[in-house]
Amino acid sequence: MEEIKFNKSKEVSPLGGLKGGVVIINYGAGNIQSIKFAIQRLGFEAVLSHDEEEIRNADKVIFPGVGEASSAMEMLKSTGLDKVIPTLKQPVLGICLGMQLMCKYCEEGDTKGLNIFDVDVVKFDDREKVPQIGWNQIENLKSDLFKGINEKEYMYLVHSFYVPINEEAIATTTYGIKYASALQEKNFYGVQFHPEKSSKAGAQILKNFLEL
């Protein structure tokens, strides 16, 4: 496995200092700059970190992820954070692959997940184009995460694997089949879509999370 290059949080935090208490977990997988910038646009400050103490002390934790499940999980394991994340007590938001890794199992790369959400992640079948790329609607919204968000609001999604509807679903989306596009279990939230890339409505969801 290739060496993971971690940025020291201070170096990648141009505004410097941490006041808002938001930590974005930096384990080498994901478009973390975009999440950081989206949080900055909301007037909050976020720090990128893979330091256990810093993560445990955060008010809010964001667990990003882009790419392939098994290699992302390997990178996560190499930081030891696979043991830390499931024990966190503050609100945690998994985004895209981050959410998928919080599930029990991912079909992609035959990957064992963090088992926070009691559901397996499976692949879209070939009746639709895979990956799904673009803006699709979220509905059946049931969480404070979606305060001020209209049913059938559009979110930006890019994914080939999905979470089937289960008891933890707090939003659904339809792409060939209806699936869970957001999950919640206690303090753990997961969204399949990218709020940081979903225009004003996505920003509202991020804001809702930061204000939980």
């Binding site: 910038f37 790329i133 803006w135 890019v158």
Partner: protein, 251 residues
């Protein structure tokens, strides 16, 4: 329902937005970051930044621009032009780009597609294909359409899908800059041939052309530059028009 995407393309040269007619005459159309913000606010679904000088001059990255765009813009964007290695892509994605588009480098080294898909996931790998018809056969061209190859468009499209491309950005060099509409016949064939999204590019001149490329061309997304840059088409008007034609759009 998944919507059809409207994607303004910002061709970048020396840090400024330009759009060439058939990739030759360049006109200045403004500051890319400012323009990107405007498009995001007007309802663009994604943005593409293409450094059109990159392939010839081997210029590497647009990292500065990517960071500035990522800071300001709240919709996804793709960066292309001169990207030829896993390291190039890593820098761009880490700087805030959502996807990268590779073109000539994929033709020269098809394994790059596999490598990028394995390391970063197919979702961020857009393979751009420029092609034009030669004796009735669609042939892949390089360097902004200037250099012909002996690669057939449809065979190449199938190959890039199998190697792990997440999307194909198909530009018809026969249509680009003409404002006479997209290459819908070839697009429809492509869309049936592969099971990844197809972005139509080249030929947008009016709103009907977009409707046509989504219906006849079966495209998943449509990309255009000058019609947006020079306000010939307003994105909001275009989306309303598409909606009137029963096409799913984000409004």
């Amino acid at each position: 329902m998944l919507t059809k995407r409207i994607i303004p393309c910002l061709d970048i040269k020396n840090g400024r937005t330009v759009k060439g007619v058939n990739f030759v005459d360049l006109r200045d159309a403004g500051d890319p970051v400012e323009l990107a913000e405007i498009y995001a606010n007007e309802g663009a679904d994604e943005l593409v930044f293409l450094d059109i000088t990159a392939t010839e001059q081997k210029r590497k990255t647009l990292v500065e621009l990517v960071i500035h765009v990522a800071e300001k813009v709240n919709i996804p964007f793709t960066v292309g032009g001169g990207i030829s290695s896993v390291e190039d892509v890593e820098i761009l994605l880490n700087s805030g780009a959502d996807k990268v588009s590779i073109n000539s480098s994929a033709v020269k080294n098809p394994q790059l597609i596999n490598d990028l898909a394995a390391k970063f996931g197919s979702q961020c790998v857009v393979v751009a294909i420029d092609a034009k018809q030669i004796d009735g056969e669609w042939m892949v061209h390089l360097v902004g359409g200037k250099v012909p190859t002996d690669i057939k468009l449809f065979e190449w499209a199938k190959e890039v899908e199998q190697r792990g491309a997440g999307e194909i950005l198909f530009t018809s060099m026969d249509h680009d800059g003409t404002k006479n509409g997209f290459a819908n016949q070839a697009l429809a064939y492509l869309s049936e041939l592969v099971n990844i999204p197809i972005i139509a590019s080249g030929g947008a001149g009016n709103m009907q052309h977009f409707t046509d490329t989504f219906i006849e061309g079966k495209a998943d997304a449509a990309l255009a530059a000058s019609v947006f840059h020079f306000k010939e088409i307003e994105i909001i008007d275009l989306k309303n028009e598409l909606k009137r034609n029963n096409l799913p759009v984000r409004l």
